[in-house]
Amino acid sequence: MLEIRGLTVDVAGRCVLNDVNMIIEEGEAHVLLGPNGSGKTTLLLSILGFPRYKVKEGKIIFKGEDITDLHTSERVKRGIGISFQNPPVIKGVNLGSMVNICMGEKTDEITERTLELAGKMNLSEEFLKRDVNFGFSGGEIKRSEILQLIAQHPDFVMLDEPDSGVDIENMELIGKMIGELLQRDYLPSRRKRMGLIITHLATILDYIHADRAHVMLNGGIVCSGTPEEILSGIKKNGYEGCMRMSRKLGIL
């Protein structure tokens, strides 16, 4: 289980998350919706523990352990993984090596296992030899990120807009692979892996069938419910409607 309790986070002295609460049970996939700049990515990176994100108040409890003060690499070792929206280029470090790092292996050689995983993502051996993220297309970035996540084998998967900039052909592959990653093909009671997905497009939800959706506005979660309810609400009244409703209910 991942539990976020009253999380308030500052970045460069500015409050960007305010009293966020969320519980993701084992085997559950949640969707995080909200306009640009509302704090969705910040929440993911705060859970990941990047140093720029200073927790002012609140706690992050992962599998029963308070991880609020742990270094990112320690959180990753405990089973937290992320697919970034815009990952940086690292010159001279190829994707194959990154996959090895994700698997905790020290070699630069491209192993059989790596090739097999890459094949699943429709990525070739040649592609594995390219500097990570250098000149990758939108779809390639997403596939490379998901490949690394699969190699990492995390218990909790965070995906930051895995569907943005992806063409229809790739969408199907990415959707299917995320579905597999989140064990959506298992019986609900058999699912172990947890997920939190930021998306602007509902398309990805066709592949994931998320358990719950949350709307984030101005650094706070303003409403939660089933993905169907939330999406139809947004379609009808927009995020503005969400905000009005929250104000009315005294949440904002």
Binding site: H71, S73, K77, P87, K91, G92, S97, M98, I101
Partner: protein
């Protein structure tokens, strides 16, 4: 760079006998680090000079001549045409000193069409305190020949102060292909002034790989290549400057001949109090010439300094020259990305440094490639 007091260094060297080579067999790893295989296995020729004495000059393949330049000049009158032709003795104080007080140097000659099966190796080693080693080398790759020359220059452990001056004149004839890999492993008190000129004839290919991963007191060099029609010159430089090292390095290419090409790639890491000037100059004179210069620096200390000076000079509208230069520190974003994959910050930084120095050097013997990788690993690990 500060002016070097040449008088400070001694011209007197004790004579070394070829039998002394055997003592290096005990610490062969030291020589392997600069690419020299003491047992000469898988080498098509070897030249080994200790201080002022030549301990080995052997050819391992027909059509490859290896000797001292002094002997070669006695043997071949025609060699006079190559002597002080690609480098001028009046270039500076250092070339003058080599002209007046030469202490050997190698002559490597590939006869026309000869393709060396293995690399040819040379080692210029300094073992005596406060000595000046003034070598003058000549390499001639005749028409259609091909060779990879690996040259290691180093000072023995315990040498605190010394001067190495090296004039190298390299001739790559028509359709010949020469790769010249130079590995420097000096010491924090050694002063080094190589002076190199390279003539590349029609369709000739010259590739220089220069690797220096250890501290040096003061090193300055700026090899210059002159390309004829359709000739190609490539310079790849990998520098890891540490401690109080001062280095001023650059490569110059004159694209004289029509259709000639140049590529200059340098990767410089500066840490501690080191200072590096990283230069590059491509001059386009001929028609349809093309050149690219890539100069990247990574700063690992607030007390170090990297000064990148990429220069392009077009003397015709038909020259296509470009450069990219970037100097900076390790990006926080890259560190974070790697920590999100499970590495701690130190491990992440060494992966980035390793990647930064990861330049493909073609045709390097496996063993040497591993040596260079090992050095990169070591440097990246001690951050």
């Amino acid at each position: 760079m500060p002016k070097i007091d040449l008088e400070k260094y001694s011209m007197k060297s004790e004579e070394h006998e070829p039998s002394e080579l055997s003592k290096f067999k005990e610490n062969r790893d030291d020589l392997s680090e600069v690419g020299y295989e003491i047992d000469e296995k898988e080498r098509s020729g070897s030249y080994f000079q200790l201080d002022h004495s030549v301990l080995s000059s052997t050819s391992g393949q027909e059509g490859i001549e290896i000797s001292t330049t002094t002997d070669a000049l006695k043997k071949y009158d025609w060699l006079r045409d190559y002597w002080w032709n690609a480098v001028s003795p009046d270039k500076d104080r250092y070339t003058k000193q080599v002209d007046l007080k030469q202490t050997q140097g190698y002559f490597i000659h590939l006869l026309p069409g000869v393709k060396a099966e293995f690399p040819v190796q040379s080692c210029l080693l300094i073992s005596q305190e406060n000595i000046a080693q003034n070598v003058h080398n000549i390499i001639i790759a005749e028409e259609g020949s091909e060779v990879h020359i690996i040259t290691g220059c180093s000072a023995s452990h315990g040498v605190n102060s010394a001067l190495h001056l090296g004039v190298s004149e390299i001739y790559v004839k028509k359709n010949a292909k020469l790769t010249f890999t130079m590995i420097h492993l000096w010491g924090p008190e050694i002063v080094v002034r190589p002076r190199t000129g390279i003539f590349i004839e029609e369709n000739g290919t010259f590739t220089s790989n220069y690797v220096c991963m250890n501290p040096v007191k003061d090193l300055q060099m700026s090899p210059t290549a002159y390309c004829d029609k359709n000739a190609r010159a490539t310079f790849q430089t990998i520098i890891y400057a540490s401690k109080d090292s001062k280095m001023d390095l650059g490569s110059n290419v004159f694209l004289k001949g029509d259709g000639s090409r140049a590529e200059i790639i340098s990767r410089v890491i500066a840490r501690d109090n080191s200072e590096v000037i990283s230069r590059g100059d491509i001059i386009g004179k001929g028609r349809d010439v093309r050149g690219h210069l890539e100069c990247r620096g990574l700063m690992l200390s607030n007390h170090a300094k990297i000064h990148a000076i990429p220069e392009l000079e077009a003397e015709t509208a038909e020259a296509d020259l470009s450069h990219e230069a970037a100097v900076g520190r390790i990006s926080e974003e890259e560190i974070e990305y790697l920590t999100a994959r499970g590495l701690d910050e130190e491990e992440a930084a060494s992966v980035i440094v390793r990647g930064f120095l990861n330049v493909d050097i073609e045709g390097l013997p496996k063993h040497l490639e591993e040596e260079i990788k090992k050095k990169i690993e070591m440097s990246a690990a001690v951050m």
